[in-house]
């Protein structure tokens, strides 16, 4: 048996270093993170809501939302995320311990969604409600003129009105309005997706993330309405 030449040893060694530092170290350092518990006030964060979010998270993954949206808020020294109203503090590793798969993302063709569930537009109280999300997914340009988000109308169905109009039926006008006697209703996928989006919240105070800042009072802080 010939001795393996030094090139093999070297190649294995550099790979082992890379694996240890960038894959094993995070697993050891961060894999065992526990929720933050404040026993005095009975406060626990994060709470495992992965059961509620699982279906909607799967739709988010399957539609590839991550191609244009992130779910992470950076420190003010690293970017204007907080100033823009995307969060009240930076997000940290502990925020994500129950998230599987984690959807940090790497591209912002659209706004960050880490706190889309808590977002408010002082000028338009209807914005970011469940009904608004349905309209937005059905026809983004209908509620946000100039948006480059594609329509997800294949997550909705046209159904004949039998008796009463469905409570979730979209209030569509103009060219989008369904023919008389019909209504547009969300499929279970759209319902799950919106349930997921409206529970997305990484704003609970955490010691390692520093103090929360007050959200700015400017209109359209969420960064979509015109």
């Amino acid at each position: 048996m010939k001795q393996p030449p030094p090139i093999f040893t070297g190649i294995l060694a550099v790979f082992a270093i890379s694996f240890a530092v960038l894959a094993m170290a995070p697993a050891i350092q961060l894999g065992g993170l526990q929720p933050f518990v404040d026993e005095d006030v009975g406060d626990i964060y994060p709470i495992d809501v992965s059961g509620v979010q699982a279906e909607g998270r799967a739709v988010y993954v399957s539609q590839g939302c991550v191609a244009c949206h992130t779910e992470q808020v950076r420190d003010p020294s690293e970017g204007a995320d907080i100033e823009r109203g995307w969060g009240v503090r930076r997000t940290v590793a502990r925020d994500y311990i129950y998230e599987q798969p984690v959807l940090l993302g790497s591209m912002r063709n659209g706004p960050d969604l880490a706190n889309i569930g808590t977002r408010k537009d002082p000028d338009n109280p209807d914005k970011y409600t469940v009904a608004w999300h349905y309209l937005h997914l059905y026809n983004p340009q209908g509620v946000v003129p100039g948006s480059i988000m594609p329509s997800y109308r294949f997550l909705f169905e046209k159904r004949k009105i039998a008796g009463q109009v469905d409570a979730e039926a979209l209030k569509l006008t103009g060219a989008d309005a369904p023919p008389a006697g019909y209504q547009i209703v969300p499929t279970s996928e759209a319902r799950d997706l919106v349930a997921y989006l409206t529970t997305l919240d990484h704003s609970h105070p955490l010691k390692e993330a520093g103090p929360n800042v007050q959200p700015p009072k400017t209109s359209g802080a969420g960064g979509t309405a015109k």
């Binding site: 988010y60 950076r74 690293e78 204007a80 823009r84 590793a93």
Partner: protein, 479 residues
């Protein structure tokens, strides 16, 4: 028989033994490149015309984009690189291919894996991590296929004729080893129910970054180190520089992954370490650049004659420019303006296309005639391919990099651009430019495909003189 004749027969035997697997990898790679071109063009149109082909879930941007990047990487890039490294490895080990069925089986598994993976992505069955989107069914096939290539490579290396180990072989042996480990460990960790939260993201970043260095840069640089000295007929400028370049590259590259999470939720030391490692990569980038350019110093006129030299020189210049831009864009002062923007798509294309794919085109122009026994049909076709690919990708990268800075600047200026639509309005002209940039690329890829198929059907010019852009004058060196 003279020694030269024996050598010639030797080479012919080696070439004949690798013909089927190499041509199989090249042909499938070419076909996937056309698919990537089509899908990439549609993605680009969707950025400025969101309603385009918008009624079907399998054509939504969120699925087409990962389909495009995965086809470009796993359909075109890896098989082209595997084909090139099989041929060069056989030549450098100077042994007839052992067990040719290994790479052929591998090629079949690989392409089934890519097909399954792309269909799954279009159907929405994917993982949300860059270049790890393929579901388990596909990644297992890809792993088996590549592991076979790795085993084959090591067998070849161990049976090589004694003598000096040329620098290209270092890079190829590295790629044969690194990629299957990287791919297996990343897929196992990301897919494991015991790994959650940001650890998944860290592993995914480690993988995506590793793929570029430990496969694409390794195979690209190994190919360039072989082709350039071979065509101009001169040894590499400095062997010590080449070794320094290899080891510093191998060590530092593996630590750069967390630049993808600068400012993100991971503890800050990860990104600090990765930024430092990325800056240290200037050492191998510089040494490789100096080494190749010094080797070419007295033969720069060859870019006017040899297609192989012209494409690989484009590749090495793109490597230098691409790495410098990547490093500059990743330092903390610049990161807020480049992170999460089209800038990263720009550097992706710089490395995967302007550097790696252009190098592979150059390699194919050199290798294919030696395998099929005829020369390329038309120098004009090659010239058009070069201009289409070269200008197309150059313009596209320019658009993406500028768009990235505009996008990053606008997101970071909520006072002037409070709404998302105002940010996208700013970059809309660049998105339109991007679609324009695809047109020369489409023409170039179609031309190259036709030209390649003609070679496959042995419709080329009879063997003898290589097809050159311009004849080489007296006193110039023959390729």
């Amino acid at each position: 028989m003279s020694a030269a004749e024996i050598e010639w027969i030797d080479r012919s035997l080696i070439d004949a033994s690798v013909r089927t697997p190499v041509m199989f990898f090249f042909t499938t790679a070419q076909t996937w490149l056309l698919a990537a071109t089509l899908i990439g063009f549609v993605c680009s149109i969707k950025l400025h015309w969101p309603g385009f082909l918008g009624n079907w879930s399998f054509l939504t941007y969120g699925r087409l984009w990962p389909a495009y990047t995965n086809i470009l990487v796993y359909g075109w890039g890896l098989p082209a690189g595997i084909g090139s490294s099989i041929w060069i490895t056989a030549r450098l080990c100077r042994v007839v291919l052992r067990a040719p069925w290994i790479p052929i089986i591998s090629g079949i598994f690989w392409n089934i894996g890519v097909t399954v993976g792309v269909i799954a992505v279009l159907a929405g069955n994917m993982q949300p991590y860059e270049l790890l989107e393929f579901p388990r069914q596909a990644s297992v096939l890809l792993f088996i296929a590549y592991a076979l290539i790795g085993v084959w490579g090591v067998i070849m290396f161990q049976n090589r004729r004694p003598g000096h180990i040329y620098i290209s072989l270092w890079y190829f042996v590295g790629a044969f080893f690194w990629f299957p480990w990287l791919y297996a460990s990343a897929n196992l960790m990301v897919g494991s129910p015991h790994v959650h939260g940001v650890v998944n993201a860290a592993v995914a970043a480690w993988y995506a970054q590793g793929l570029f260095g430990y496969f694409f840069a390794s195979v690209g640089l190994g190919t360039i180190y072989y082709l350039i000295p071979k065509v101009i007929g001169k040894p590499i400028h400095s062997y010590n520089l080449a070794q320094l370049g290899f080891w510093s590259f191998a060590l530092f590259w593996g630590l750069t992954g967390m630049v993808r999470y600068t400012g993100g939720p991971l503890p800050v030391w990860y990104s600090s370490l990765s930024i430092a490692a990325l800056i240290l990569l200037l050492i191998p980038v510089g040494t490789v650049g100096v080494n190749i350019l010094m080797t070419m110093k007295d033969d720069t006129h060859m870019v006017y004659h040899s297609p192989t030299i012209r494409f690989t020189m484009y590749g090495i210049v793109a490597w230098l420019v691409g790495m410098v831009i990547t490093i500059l864009g990743s330092v903390r002062e610049m990161d807020p303006y480049t992170h999460f923007t089209q800038f990263s798509v720009g550097t992706f294309h710089l490395l995967i296309y302007a550097f790696f794919s252009m190098t592979m085109f150059g390699a194919m122009y050199y290798i294919v005639p030696r395998l099929v026994g005829c020369e390329w049909l038309s120098a004009s076709f090659i010239r058009l391919h070069f201009w289409g690919s070269g200008y197309g990708i150059g313009f596209m990268i320019l658009m993406l990099i500028v768009a990235g800075f505009v996008q990053g600047g606008a997101w970071n200026d909520p006072g002037s651009f409070p709404h998302a639509t105002e940010v996208t309005d700013e970059i809309m002209p660049y998105f339109r430019g991007l679609s324009l940039a695809w047109i020369p690329l489409i023409i170039a890829h179609l031309l190259f495909f036709v030209h390649f198929i003609a070679m496959l059907l042995r419709l080329g010019q009879p063997s003898g003189e290589a097809t050159l852009f311009a004849p080489i004058q007296e006193g110039e060196h023959h390729p």
